[in-house]
């Protein structure tokens, strides 16, 4: 056990992967000598040498070379500094990486891992604050994970690196420098997938992930004072998607809310809602409620952002409204 932050847990996982497998390469913009703009690769260049390196500001080259290196047996772990930058080179993910195995009937594979981070922070502009997980989850062939805590940041990254498929791990920079918590750096590496019930409750289920888990748990605690017993599920992976965990929970609570920081329309909450309505509507006694950012662009000013992004208070209001149904 080590007492480390979410960012340090990522460094620890990368360090372990580089130590355990000589085929692992870690690269991207500023990740080598600079240690990453959020410090997630700090010290790795010094420890592992040229397998950790800086690249030009060339997202197509970073992602495309990761596809090619992975096809040839390497385990590239590449950083796309902000998820917004992945849009510059989406071709290499959506047209290239995910087709390699399927189209070749498994003769080839592209086991690359993309690390990126997303979300709004006070002052972040509209091109540095999007939440694009639904876009990636819409892409068959990709595995999509969003760790909400330091242990998951460590474990899910290792799961991704070990998987023989293209993986995107979407971190959230508001989590990087939170409190230091106990992280088991020797945790066994498990296959991607699996939601986690983080708080048990009997009255209502909230499914969430990534940085929204914090305000959701805060709201759940506050709801208890109002007599509403909220169950909270950290979905963790959107692909593969653990719907049985959601069905198990609503078979108990009969009420479902999905909370995410992404925009509502076409957000991943819509997929969960559609699956529940399509496959288990009989378990519900209230309409499915979705909480997210309204369909607007994200302004930079903190006050304006605060008016858009769900927080513990706004989530609590939604919980109480749904509970009254």
């Amino acid at each position: 056990m080590a007492k480390i932050t979410y960012a340090q847990a990522i460094t620890s996982a990368l360090d372990r992967a580089l130590s355990e497998d000589n085929d692992v390469l870690v690269y991207g913009e500023d990740v080598g000598v600079g240690g990453g703009i959020f410090g997630c690769t700090k010290g790795l260049r010094a420890r592992h040498g040229e397998r950790v390196f800086d690249t030009p500001i060339s997202e197509s080259a970073i992602l495309g070379s990761a596809v090619g290196a992975a096809m040839m047996g390497k385990r590239p772990v590449v950083e796309i500094m902000w998820v917004d930058f992945s849009l510059v080179a989406l071709d290499q993910i959506v047209n290239q990486a995910v087709n390699v195995r399927y189209v070749s009937e498994g003769r080839l594979s592209a086991p690359l891992t993309i690390r990126t981070q997303q979300g709004a922070m006070p002052g972040s502009c509209a091109q540095h604050s999007q939440n694009l997980e639904a876009l990636f989850a819409h892409t068959p062939g990709l595995l999509v994970g969003l760790p909400s805590n330091a242990q998951d940041a460590h474990d899910m990254l290792l799961s991704g690196i070990h998987a023989d498929d293209p993986v995107i791990i979407i971190e959230n920079r508001t989590l990087y420098f939170g409190e230091k918590v106990d992280v088991d750096e020797d945790a066994p590496v498990v296959a991607p997938g699996g939601a986690r019930v983080v708080r048990e409750g009997a009255d209502l289920t909230v499914v969430s992930w990534s940085a929204m888990m914090g305000p959701v748990l805060e709201a759940a605690t506050a709801a208890a004072a109002h007599g509403v017993d909220v169950e909270v599920i950290d979905l963790r992976w959107l692909r593969p998607l653990d719907m049985p965990a959601v069905f198990r929970s609503i078979s108990k609570t009969s009420k479902l809310m999905i909370a995410h920081e992404a925009n509502i329309t076409g957000g991943f909450g819509a997929e969960i809602a559609a699956r529940v309505v399509g496959e288990a509507v009989h378990l519900l006694d209230a309409p499915v409620r979705r909480v997210g950012v309204a369909d607007v662009r994200m302004p930079a000013a903190p006050g304006l952002q605060g008016a858009l992004i769900p927080n513990a208070d706004s989530i609590l209001r939604e919980i109480l409204e749904l509970a009254r149904f």
């Binding site: 197509s60 495309g64 290499q92 195995r101 068959p140 593969p240």
Partner: protein, 344 residues
């Protein structure tokens, strides 16, 4: 009379064995045989597309055969090759057996990718042909990754990637040039300049028509060659491969050629100047080889033997492919992920 050899580079199944051949020891008749395999394949595919047995967009490389044939003569087994959708010839030159490629385009189970790739996006990894790409400039960064892997593995493999003149105007190619150069990657970029960026003359889409000079700004050695001369191609690729294997980094080769057909089957070719194709026919690689062989004493009839031998082997391969069952629809969900559980 010059001795006619139809063996050596082409086996009984019509598969080419260029990688293990030495360019200096290959005669004109062998070059012609190899190119007839590529040409004959495309002509047969054109018939099958018109008859509806092959469906979808099909991009033929008729007229451009000297580039893949020359390039693969200069490469070795184990050197990865990446092409674009005009890639049938590159696959065959890499060593793919024609039956598997015919079957691929025909949607048969025994296609090189079981019918999943089709004409425009198949691979034959067994022959180090890592695939076509239907995004014109996407293969360049991927090839950089292949070269990166070789570098980290301490292998002396050289990766070759080929794209058209139009692809040079896609950003991914510029990114790949810089990435390859700054990392001194063992990669060869071949630009097949057939004069047309799909349906638009490349000359109207660039200010400097000397496309190879794009290498200058990235510090990449570059040259323009006659792409209808397989020996010139082999020479340039051989020199580039030697430099790459010695740690000298990438090379950009602009190979001038002309496609004698449309961008795709069905292209009305309204962009062609009058007489353009007639002139191109005089300069195309097989016509040149015919003239060269005739000047050294080979008769037209003997040249036709080379063609007919290649075509007969292709025809047999095509018949075998047509005889295969269609890809089994029960397999259509297979191989999306390494584990079935990930589909959840």
């Amino acid at each position: 009379m010059t001795e006619i050899s139809t063996t050596g580079l082409i086996d009984g199944n019509g598969a080419l064995h260029l990688r293990s051949a030495s360019p200096e020891e290959v005669g004109d008749s062998e070059l012609a045989s190899a190119m007839w395999v590529l040409r004959g394949f495309e002509e047969r595919i054109r018939e099958l597309r018109v008859s509806g047995d092959v469906v979808g967009s099909v991009h033929l490389g008729i007229g451009q055969e000297a580039i893949p044939v020359g390039a693969l003569l200069a490469l070795r087994p184990g050197d990865p090759v990446y092409s674009t959708y005009r890639g049938h010839g590159w696959a065959l030159a890499s060593g793919a057996a024609p039956e598997g490629v015919f079957a691929e385009l025909l949607g048969r189970a025994g296609g090189v990718n079981g019918g999943r790739g089709g004409s425009a996006y198949f691979s034959v990894p067994e022959e180090d042909f890592y695939g076509e790409n239907s995004i014109v400039g996407a293969g360049a960064p991927i090839a950089c990754g292949s070269a990166l892997a070789a570098k980290f593995n301490g292998s002396d493999a050289v990766t070759l990637t080929v794209f058209g003149d139009g692809a040079l105007n896609q950003g991914s190619v510029s990114e790949a040039f810089n990435f390859a150069s700054v990392m001194k990657l063992p990669v060869i970029f071949i630009c097949e300049n057939n004069g047309y960026s799909e349906l638009t003359p490349i000359a109207s889409m660039v200010v400097n028509p000397m496309l190879h000079e794009r290498g200058d700004v990235y510090g990449i050695p570059n040259l323009r060659i006659d792409g209808n001369d397989a020996r010139a191609v082999a020479g340039a690729v051989g020199a580039a491969a030697a430099r790459a294997r010695a740690g000298g980094g990438p090379t950009l080769i602009e190979a001038l050629t002309q496609r004698l057909v449309g961008h795709y089957i069905g292209d009305a070719e309204l962009y062609r100047a009058k007489g353009e194709l007639d002139r191109a026919m005089e300069d195309e690689p097989l016509e040149r080889l015919r003239r060269s062989l005739e000047s050294s004493g080979t008769t037209s009839a003997e040249f036709e033997v080379l063609r007919d031998t290649a075509l007969a082997r292709l025809s047999a391969a095509c018949d075998r492919a047509i005889g295969q069952p269609f890809a089994d629809t029960s397999t259509v969900y297979d191989h999306l992920y390494s584990k079935e559980a990930y589909r959840g």
